[in-house]
Symmetry: C2
Subunit: 137 residues, 2 copies
């Protein structure tokens, strides 16, 4: 018996995963995972997700080398969302930023129509993904 089998997955068999930096608490990314990807995550110690657009399981960093070593895994009150604390190698975002949440709504108002970019850029995605348009790999 595994806790993985008792989690509540949505109609697509997915569960939301919030990825947080284990050291400084920065939220790095948000993605969906599933039971197979979770088993793989626990077996390898490295974060695996399920991509809806590509319809496949993927390991974060499989192409970029920017892996996420799992330090702690938490579950919410309804057992339908995960909070996973990781040790992030390089940047979590495929755009080159450390966190995918590199833009903020400023001013904090309904009529704000663009974002303020204030995240920390770590790499040039063209160097890492060899010019191919890839998402967060």
């Amino acid at each position: 018996m595994s806790f993985i089998d008792t989690l509540k997955y949505d109609e697509r068999g997915l569960i939301p995963a919030i990825i947080q930096d284990a050291e400084n608490g920065e939220v790095l990314m948000f993605a969906f995972t599933n039971s197979t990807a979770l088993k793989k995550t626990l077996e390898t110690g490295l974060m695996h997700f399920y991509s809806r657009s590509r319809n496949k399981l993927w390991m974060k960093g499989e192409e970029s080398g920017h892996t996420q070593k799992v330090v702690e895994m938490r579950v919410d009150c309804d057992t339908d969302a995960l909070l996973i604390k990781v040790k992030q190698k390089g940047g979590a975002c495929h755009t080159g930023f450390r966190s995918c949440f590199y833009r903020k709504v400023e001013p904090l108002a309904v009529d704000t129509d663009k974002y303020t970019e204030d995240g920390k850029k770590l790499f040039n995605p063209e160097d890492v993904y060899k010019g191919k348009k890839k998402k967060a790999r």
Copy 2:
């Protein structure tokens, strides 16, 4: 024109929202919101969500008083997830814990079959919700 109209909502018109404590970085809860709830959030300064199970817009704390004052709102690289930093009044979780993520997987292994509860309990839900079984209100 509002950034709210440019966000990518899922097929149900929802967008995931990660709620983080603006002061200490603790992830407090995860829920879905929508464009109407977001407009309401920005107009009032208090976090509003959309409940799939109850099929209605709700303000966090509308019954418990445990409101979330929005301090910062961030959007991810794909514009399909939000990270919202808040000033939390009382506990975020309907179970009485400060965070909904009050349980962790320990040991971090596939065959772990129960959770370790280590969150901070702030209130007795029966006192706050007057004995009614309610979710995170």
